[in-house]
């Protein structure tokens, strides 16, 4: 198996469904950072068959709960001094700001305002735009 050095301080996003790793990688803009990052794709997994993993040698200020829209089994491990100090699954957020409204008639398409989607159905992961009320079903980034 391919070896990737373990990290000292940062985080490891594990149990990412196969193929979703690259999307998270781009969503977190990891292609533009200066610190060490590793995207591992198609890693054999007992539970999942195949999975993706992302290792980041830095702190991430963004709330990662949004990753739950892909899958709530994703595991986020926080690493300090080479050890896992915290491990959690992202929780479905009530409000999401990081996604743009796709409705071309929405005011957010012309005005410089922060997007806001409010959770309306936890089961179906449906969110509604605060402005135009367009409903979106989120299952990928």
């Amino acid at each position: 198996m391919l070896k990737v050095t373990s990290i000292d301080k940062g985080l490891v996003i594990d149990h990412i469904p196969q193929g979703e790793g690259i999307k998270i990688f781009h969503f977190l803009n990891l292609d533009k950072v200066k610190y060490r990052v590793a995207l591992l794709m198609n890693v054999p997994s007992e539970k999942m068959g195949w999975k993706d993993i992302i290792k980041i040698e830095n702190e991430i200020s963004m709330n990662l709960d949004i990753l739950s829209i892909i899958n709530d089994k994703i595991t986020i491990n926080i690493i300090e001094a080479g050890k896992i100090i915290k491990k959690y699954h992202p929780a479905i957020p009530k409000v999401i700001n990081q996604i743009k409204c796709k409705n071309p008639r929405c005011v957010t398409s012309v005005e410089n305002i922060q997007n806001q989607f409010n959770l309306i159905n936890k089961k179906t992961k449906e969110y509604s735009c605060q402005y135009c009320e367009e409903i979106i079903k989120l299952n990928t980034l």
Partner: protein, 308 residues
Amino acid sequence: MKGKKLIDPSDLTTTEIEDLIKLANQIIQNEEKYSKCCENKLLATLFYEPSTRTRFSFEAAMLRLGGKVIGFSEPNSSSVAKGESISDTIQTVCCYADIIAMRHPKEGSAYVAANASTVSFINAGDGGHFHPTQTLTDLLTISNLKGRLDNLVIGLCGDLKFGRTVHSLIKAMSRYQNITFIFISPEELQVPDYIKKEVLEKNKLKYDESTNLEEVISKLDILYMTRVQKERFFNESDYIRLKDMFILDLEKLKNAKKDLTILHPLPRVNEISTEIDDDPRAAYFKQAKFGMYIRMALILKFLGIEVD
């Protein structure tokens, strides 16, 4: 309701709507009494897209209350053309005006504006989203011509898929007792599923769908006509085949109740034949007048002005 902001018709409770209708009727009965009560008050009408009808209605309402009006009727001539944000425009206008009415082509613009406004705010239409003063106009008209807002069979005819006026009226009327809707439209332009699920089925409202106006017209207390636009059809032949079925003429009116009320948000194109205009059941021009009175009531309530 002083200082209130109106974005969506459901921002108002049924009691508040009742109060507005009551005040509008008091104004109708004694217009003179209200003709100076807004002296020293200024309404700003900010129209980011032209809608002469709605703007006139707001301005006439304010002027008939003795108030004054400033504003623009198309954004090209204003600072908006230089790229000013909605929020900045509103904050500036708040320095001058006591109340703002805004129309904007983008959905959700009213929410942005209302949040930026420090004075009373009325959404005069935000794209295909909300148009609360049209809905209030419809409610005042129905309440006056029918004497009630409950126990009614309401037929909605035309474009029921894209017509925001229709969706908004369905939502508003679903709050009253024993309302039955009959939706009359081509299959391509039926009421969207989310309205059926979220509004009709949730409130256990009775409704029926038909593609034939003539067949159902005898059941109706109210017939609300809307435009069927050519561009909503996939092809010319569908449009030609269907357009006449949704045009109201004397022939189709033959089986209608004697006290049917025919409404239309205007402007009409050809969906109501002009031969009907003289029929006592045609109420669409009265409806336009009611529109001005409900806006007068709204302005008074939102400015917190009481006249005794």
